[in-house]
């Protein structure tokens, strides 16, 4: 073969080679560019999630009700698990049993399926280590101190491949105190709406403020792009785009933990004595609608939500309704006093039919056979027939219905708590002939304890219906107020100021010698309030029970310038039944104890003249054997 031919052959060969290489290069840099650049990026670039810290829940004075406790998750990367060999000065594989023995004492306790706790053993750790797996979770949520000690032990033993990840536990330092209001944080299972199968889990507020203020508390996690070196370690100097996390805000409640403590103590004492099915106490500032305390029984510890039965988690103050009974008579009377064309005053006399009144299909009885009573006596003595006749003087059902609605019954109050129910108030079109003979004294209508106290505050604040408020403001970590929640008036002039004053005068008589609640009196203060006793419907018998009752007392003090309003509701006492199961006998004393201590806590000054008068009053009662 001639030299020329060989040269030609080499040239063609080279040309073919370079053409092929060029084509390949074009293929890689052109059509496959996106794929390979993404592949390269995934090797040298990573995205780190920057977690947001959940905000705290505080009481009005800044005492912590819920916050985070940092915890650690212990992780083993089996591909790099090794120990340093002093002889060879190199890393050598380490026995899993040795690592397990080192780790186990620092891992705390484990909960067995039967609920019993026991310390973590070496076997538990060994079961968790999967050979050649890069991410083995050994134990979640161990205390920070344990991790510090474990890290020191690993350092001393020169073992690598055991790391930790930040986690946190939601802690409720006040325990059962205010549990229904604060709620709790936990894991909620997400299900597919069609297949109803579990599709994932979501950590969020499950109940109470933790749930209703989730958007403020949760914050928003951030992220950061970074570059890694050959060993996969972040090169901090080559950080890329970054968005800082927005930590959760702190939610400050209107609740005063000191008053809450008083309420919880007195409620606990009452419940130990009466053993009711459920009980509720609410304290509200009538001028602003701010909730100062809210407690329910049964209750639970939000630190251990798994141990709470479903009925323990119900916030009865907003989620349960009951027939308000005689506390409703004040609403009926106020409506009549507020209607100028009726010309009814506190001293107007009403004939109470000597204790029995009939209507088509039934009859209503009073507990005493009353004849003529003034309006204030009807309230003080709690006459059912008096209340009926007052309400019927309004002439039309629509008028009475509008009156009841104007006090907030039949609609949600709008408080920032989940599961609030509007109660039940049927429109007049669905009323029976007996409705106007039952509703005026609080039957055939249901309301939540919160609705009842909100309506009573109308008398205490001069005629305004306030929106109950449980959240005072939202603040950031530095204490700057992000959102303020000022008092909100739902309805101005539900009744006139004069009628509100008149009603206070009438309600004061309830705690006088002639009234139903002498046990609600508080030495040194004028107390206005109303008792309520309703029979509980027995589903087994198909009629109202004569033994079991829901008893309540709602009142405020000082009557001349009310500073707080308090409602006590006790349902179905196991120890007291029949005639003794009455609001004036069971709920009123609880109110008295709570109100006395709350007044002291709020710095209200007892009037010495009223204290002396109270001593005299009690002496006289003792003489009369009451």
């Amino acid at each position: 073969v001639s030299l020329t031919s060989r040269a030609c052959l080499a040239t063609y060969g080279m040309a073919a080679l370079f053409t092929t290489l060029s084509a390949r290069l074009y293929y890689l840099a052109g059509p496959r560019h996106e794929y390979y650049s993404a592949l390269a990026q995934s090797v040298y670039e990573g995205k780190q999630v920057l977690p947001a810290r959940r905000g705290a829940i505080l009481d009005i004075h800044g005492s912590v009700l819920a916050r985070n406790q940092p915890q650690r998750d212990i992780i083993i990367d089996d591909t790099v698990l090794a120990e340093y060999d002093e002889k060879t000065k190199r890393a050598k594989p380490v026995d899993h049993a040795k690592v397990a023995a080192l780790l186990a004492p620092f891992l705390g306790e484990i909960i067995e399926p039967d609920g019993k706790k026991r310390p973590v053993t070496e076997d538990d750790v060994l079961k968790r280590i999967v050979k050649d797996r890069r991410y083995c979770v050994i134990k979640r949520k161990i205390p920070e101190d344990n991790w510090t000690q474990l890290a020191a032990a690993l350092e001393k033993a020169k073992i690598r491949g055991v790391t930790s990840e930040q986690n946190f536990d939601r802690v409720y330092p006040a325990g059962k105190l205010l549990c229904h209001v604060v709620g709790f944080y936990g894991c909620e299972t997400k299900t597919d709406p069609i297949t109803k199968k579990e599709v994932g889990r979501d950590f969020k507020g499950i109940d109470g403020i933790e749930r209703s203020m989730e958007n403020w508390l949760a914050g928003q996690e951030g992220w950061r792009y970074y570059q890694k070196n050959g060993s996969g370690t972040e090169m901090a100097s080559y950080r890329g785009e970054e968005r800082a996390p927005r930590h959760g805000s702190n939610v400050r409640l209107t609740v005063d933990l000191n008053i809450q403590q008083i309420v919880e103590e007195e409620l606990e004492k009452a419940c130990r004595e009466l053993r009711p099915k459920k009980a509720t106490v609410i304290i509200m500032d009538p001028s602003t609608g701010a909730i100062l305390a809210m407690a329910n029984r049964p209750c639970y510890d939000p630190n251990l939500p798994g141990e709470a039965k479903p009925e323990m988690r119900d916030n009865h103050a907003v989620a349960s309704f009951y027939e308000p009974g005689s506390t409703f008579k004040a609403i009926s009377a106020a409506g009549v006093l507020n209607t100028p064309d009726l010309h009814t005053t506190l001293d107007s006399k009403i004939f109470c039919e000597n204790g029995i009144i009939s209507y088509p299909g039934g009859k209503v009885k009073d507990h005493h056979a009353y004849g003529w009573l003034t309006v204030s006596e009807i309230i003080a003595k709690s006459s059912n027939i008096g209340a009926i006749k007052l309400a019927r003087s309004l002439k039309t059902q629509d008028r009475f219905y509008s009156l009841v609605r104007s006090f907030g019954f039949g609609t949600r109050t709008g408080i920032a708590l989940p599961s609030e129910t509007p109660g039940m108030l049927a429109p007049p079109s669905k009323w029976t002939p007996g409705t106007m003979y039952h509703m005026p004294f609080g039957h055939e209508v249901t309301a939540t304890p919160l609705q009842v106290i909100t309506a009573t505050c109308v008398f205490a604040n001069g005629g305004k219906l306030m929106m109950p408020k449980i959240v005072r403001d939202i603040t950031d970590d530095a204490g700057h107020v992000l959102v303020d929640y000022p008092p909100q008036v739902v309805r101005e002039n539900v009744i006139t100021e004069k009628v509100a004053r008149d009603m206070t005068t009438a309600l004061e008589k309830v705690t006088s010698k002639i009234g139903t609640a002498i046990r609600a009196r508080v030495p040194g203060f004028r107390v206005a309030g109303k008792t309520g006793t309703t029979q509980i419907f027995d589903h087994a018998l198909g009629r109202y029970s004569t033994e079991d009752h829901t008893v309540s007392f709602v009142g405020y003090l000082p009557a001349e310038a009310p500073k707080f309003c308090c409602l006590v509701m006790i349902e179905d006492s196991a120890t007291v039944n029949g005639a003794k199961d009455a609001g004036g006998l069971l709920a009123a004393p609880v109110f008295s104890k709570i109100a006395e201590r709350t007044a002291r806590q709020l710095g209200l000054e007892p009037d010495p003249a009223l204290v002396a008068e109270e001593m005299e009053f009690r002496k006289n009662l003792a003489k009369e054997g009451r």
Binding site: R53, N68, Q69, P173, A174, A236, S237
Partner: protein, 113 residues
Amino acid sequence: MSNKRRHAQAFPLTATLIGLAVAACLTIFAIKALTVKYQVIQGGDKLKRLEKELAELTIKNEDFQTEKDRLTSPPALIKAMESGLIALQKIDDKFVVTIGREKKLAAAGEGVK
């Protein structure tokens, strides 16, 4: 052309010096660039270490705060009082001064006895 040749030096001193100067500049630039890069990496590592330390301190602080809140919560204080860890002495009512009353009396010019 011939004139240039006549004056040409036997050793190209100027060109050599220029070459050496350029080489020196390039070397210094390269060393500086490497030093800066090293400093950037070192700075980044320091930043990362400080970030980690700050995060650890923040976590420790939060841990202590939570522990403090737990220990000073009403249930914990009640427990401490019941166990005798905190011994409180009851204040007699005669030593209690109600602020509201004091102010009212002062306003009325009666003073507080």
